[in-house]
Symmetry: C2
Subunit: 269 residues, 2 copies
């Protein structure tokens, strides 16, 4: 088996999801952007069964920030979303939290796994970014080779049981002439955050300085571009952490689960 | 307060949801079709907390048959969906099941209520029927003054924990020239079962005789009409009953929760 880092961008894009997951299962670590082009990548949220109802209810009440693509019931480690895979090994890198505090960033969950763990697989905006680019709308953080900028807002998510917290948004600066197109295109992907939640006026979200994101990287904003905000998959993670469960596991930022589902399957209507 | 049965159809249609719920809270019993026109009516499913995750996961996996409009957490009796109301009294009539067996059909849940009960409010196709009629597509069971015919199919719902069972469908015969319109119109209401799951060929669903529905009433099928099948809100009830929880409560057929939400709010895009 090659070293994944030695593959060029075209070779990474051409990997099947199954091939990509095999690299990660062997312990190789690399951000997943650009790997297995055309296949949906997903956020991971693993919690003990006692918190699982609250997480699922949080998702039901906050569907834009927490679009659930699949759930592995207590102790299950595989799913039709990633056939033949194992959720404990097939993500490049994980973040393990105990009582709300990060304790490890392993590449394998074997030593942390418990049979009462429930896994939530949550949609990610990588999917609609391809659709934006295909329609001639450039995506600043991809062009600039950085992570998407994300901000905590003063909007509150709807509470569900022990789960509460701020809505986190991602921001993409879009030329004013293309904002309507960006709305139209992303609204066709409700399973991966869908239409923007806010366009322009970051102050109304409590964001005072776009150059200082709470997560990810700042991007240069081109002259005449409007900041457009989408609900972000970090939102449920923030709420889980606030509830301080005995154990919670997510993916390392940018190191996503690569699923067998084609991006196009999440497009409606 | 008048007797609800003494109101004519126009007077019933003109009642606000709050006024209608007040009649039911006083113990009056009447099917809710035609009451508070333009407001969404909903199915009810109340289960102990220990089954709540399975029910919500079942809904997540079977969104066409089990579209969740809202959830009242353990012990909660009111919600913004029916402001100022009480779920224990505001539905005209309930069905109480113990260990999967119906034990009562009360008009008030006070003597059955427990603080560990979680209430699921589930979308109902009454909403899209108004839209069909407004577009000139007649709805046979409404024209014929009977309940919609519903059938158990050989399709299985996706299992979630203890919840499993057949998909139940409702059937509306539609003139061949209007079937495409019926698909287009109902697909705009995903929160109330959305587009049909099957058009024509009832045998493929294991339905051998349309004149013998498993629930509701048979309808006369006009010459040249095609049977069109939609996922039905009875599906989750059937799955709950199969799991035989110590206690489960639904609404009596046709005796729905009248919400404060306008039908039009469930229309997309």
């Amino acid at each position: 088996m090659n070293n994944l880092k030695d593959l060029n961008l075209d070779q990474r894009a051409a990997l099947s999801p199954k091939e990509a997951r095999e690299y990660f299962r062997k312990g190789q670590v690399l951000p997943t952007a650009g790997i297995s082009a055309g296949y949906a990548q997903a956020n991971l949220m693993i919690v003990p069964q006692e918190l699982a109802f609250d997480v699922l209810l949080f998702a039901q009440r906050n569907p834009k920030s927490c679009p659930v693509l699949g759930v592995l019931e207590a102790g299950e480690v595989s799913s039709e979303l990633f056939a033949g895979g194992d959720i404990r090994t097939d993500v490049p890198q994980y973040m393990v939290y105990e009582n709300g505090v990060k304790v490890a960033e392993p590449t394998d969950l074997s030593e942390y796994w418990r049979d009462d763990l429930v896994t939530f697989i949550i949609g990610c905006s990588f999917t609609f970014e391809s659709a934006l680019i295909d329609s001639g709308i450039s995506v600043a953080h991809i062009e600039q080779g950085v992570n998407v900028p994300m901000y905590k807002t003063t909007l509150r998510s709807k509470t569900a049981g022990k789960m509460s917290g701020p809505m986190v948004v991602s921001m993409r600066p879009i030329p004013a002439s293309q904002v309507a197109d960006a709305v139209r295109i992303t609204s066709r992907y409700p399973a991966v955050h869908g239409a923007p939640v806010h366009i322009g006026n970051p102050e109304e979200l409590g964001i005072t300085d776009l150059s200082k994101p709470d997560f990810g990287d700042a991007v240069d904003i081109q002259e005449g571009a409007v900041p457009v905000f989408w609900a972000c998959g970090v939102t449920p993670q923030a709420a889980v952490m606030e509830s301080k469960p005995t154990l919670a596991i997510g993916h390392a930022p940018g190191h996503m689960l690569i699923t067998d589902i084609k991006d196009s399957q999440y497009q409606v209507p």
